[in-house]
């Protein structure tokens, strides 16, 4: 598969792993270390990504802030979002679902699950 993916993650090791996995699978990756940086990049970029893959708990602006920002802007509102979070719970899932996220993945995310979910999200947009 091909396509441009925005990965938002504050842990550099996991970010590196995800970048490597996605690149190897044929995608191109833009990375941001928190929700604020991601929203700034989305506002500035001339070419939107096809998918947003984000952590939840991050400094400055977290994953739900990012979801709100993406959905609140008519240019980005259509983008599929995948959440990868170390914390899980009915209320968090409900809040994510309210933003219409494509999938809520719980860390640690095995490589197979990561790639299958990303492929499915990309297929859903084309």
């Amino acid at each position: 598969m091909t396509g441009h993916i925005l990965v938002v993650e504050d842990d550099p090791l996991w970010l590196g792993v995800v970048e490597r996995r996605l690149t190897k699978a044929g995608y191109t990756v833009e990375s941001a270390r928190n929700g604020r940086v991601a929203l700034q990049w989305l506002a500035d970029t001339p070419a939107l990504p096809a998918l947003v893959l984000t952590d939840l708990l991050m400094p400055e602006a977290d994953g739900l802030d990012l979801c709100a920002g993406v959905r609140g802007n008519s240019h980005t509102a259509h983008l599929p979002i995948i959440i990868m979070s170390a914390i899980d719970g009915v209320d968090l899932r409900a809040r994510a679902a309210a933003f219409g996220v494509f999938r809520y993945l719980t860390k640690p995310v095995p490589a197979v699950e990561l790639l299958l979910t990303v492929d499915a999200a990309m297929a859903s947009t084309s």
Binding site: W14, G16, V17, R21, K24, A86, I87, V109, A111
Partner: protein, 416 residues
């Protein structure tokens, strides 16, 4: 929540304050003088309206509704005071003329706590005042006890919310770095970063398995918390035991390194499915296997299973465990080791939180927080089964850990 008036809580030993209501100046003076003699503090007003204002401004300990107010007006005052929810309990004595006596039963229903009819007898009046002030003191004590309980209850709730946050933060802070570590090791192990020598592969795989064990411990911690808080949700489905046990064996494989131990899984591939949450059950089995490894230096660890019409409830400690359901069949999964064994007197203790045995009493430290068996017990009980330990059969060294799980009913095949 009613607030106690500051003056009375701050000076609990002050003399009781009595509000006297009477539009006859002579009668009012007489009554207040009589009460002063008994060292009561008094406030005198001449009408029902003034009485209501005075009560709101400074709630007294008792109200004496005396002359000048027709019985029905007195009842109105009493009813208004009694129905004001922001006021503390204030006993009311209503004084009536003999002709109004027929009104008293209606008045008692409305709110006055006691009645006296004229002419007033000082001894009787004072006796009634004392009785009602005792009632008032008891009510106030009850009220402040209630307020105290309410405060404690709120503190506990706040503590619970804090604990929830703490568990979430611990989970996040441990899982975050583990996620990167697992991902990076997986990337190396599957050759994505280039080919590995056999030795490199072995080390990376062991590292991966240890990370997996750590991750499982975090999951156990979270589940134990959820179990204790009554908020665990199980995904119950028919589960085949053989693949479940295989998965657990693979997960704990790294712990076997360096020990002369053989691990045998004798669970038949066609054994009928049990009902449970497969992810949780794999961790229960992995915990039991890890436990067996910890206390066994050499020999064999054997996994086997049998069917029984009860869930081993009789093996559990009094007031613990889950009784069998009638008409159910149970799988009894057994993990037998050839280790140091468990003395009969501590068998009930090992499933407690943070209990940790010392192998052979040698004082050697055993790794782990002692949460594994506690987790196993609560998880199995949540599944309607039990966990217990016996001596290895026929005089063999070691222990036999048994776990019971309900079998899926006939026709409830495993889902794809």
């Amino acid at each position: 929540m009613n607030e106690l008036p500051v003056d009375r809580t701050a000076v609990p030993t002050a003399a009781p304050r009595i509000l006297v209501v009477d539009d006859n100046q002579d009668s009012l003076s007489l009554l207040t003088a009589l009460l002063h003699e008994q060292r009561y503090r008094t406030q005198a007003v001449a009408s029902g309206a003034e009485a209501l204002t005075a009560v709101v401004a400074h709630p007294p300990d008792l109200i004496l509704l005396a002359g000048g107010l027709p019985a029905l007006d007195g009842q109105d005052v009493a009813r208004r005071i009694k129905s004001a929810h922001d006021l503390p309990f204030i006993p009311i004595i209503q004084v009536t003329a003999p002709s109004e006596l027929h009104e008293t039963s209606a008045g008692l229903d409305q709110g006055a706590d006691d009645y006296l009819s004229r002419p007033l007898v000082a001894g009787e009046l004072l006796a009634r005042v004392r009785a009602l002030l005792r009632l008032k003191a008891a009510q106030d004590a009850l009220h402040s006890r209630h307020a105290e309980l309410q405060r404690l209850h709120e503190q506990l709730r706040a503590g619970e919310a804090y604990r929830e946050n703490l568990v979430q933060m611990i989970t996040h802070d441990l899982r975050g770095p583990l996620t990167g570590l697992l991902g990076a090791l997986e990337l190396i192990e599957d050759g994505s970063l280039g080919p590995l020598t056999a030795e490199q592969g072995d080390f990376v795989r062991q590292g991966l398995q240890n990370c997996q064990t750590l991750n499982d411990m975090v999951a156990d911690l979270l589940d134990v918390y959820r179990l204790e808080a009554g908020r665990l949700e199980l995904a119950r489905r028919p589960v085949a035991l053989r693949p479940l046990a295989d998965q657990a064996c693979v997960q704990v494989g790294a712990a076997l390194a360096g020990k002369k131990l053989l691990l045998h899984n004798h669970i038949p591939a066609d054994f009928p499915p049990v009902i449970g949450d497969s992810g949780k059950l794999v961790r229960v089995l992995a915990n039991l296997l890890n436990n067996a490894f910890k206390y066994t230096e050499r020999g064999t660890i054997t996994l086997q299973v049998l069917v029984q019409p009860d869930n081993g409830y009789s093996h559990t400690v009094a007031d613990e465990g889950q009784p069998s359901l009638p008409g159910r069949q149970y799988a009894i999964i057994q993990v037998q080791d050839t280790g140091v064994g468990i003395p009969a007197e501590v068998r009930a203790l090992i499933f407690r939180k943070f209990y940790r045995g010392e192998p052979g009493g040698s004082g050697r430290r055993i790794r782990g927080a002692g949460l594994g068996l506690y987790f196993a017990r609560h998880m199995i009980e949540a599944h309607g089964g039990n966990i217990w330990v016996e001596s290895a059969p026929s005089g063999a060294p070691g222990s036999l850990f048994c776990v019971s799980l309900p079998l899926a009913a006939a026709g409830q095949g495993e889902e794809a």
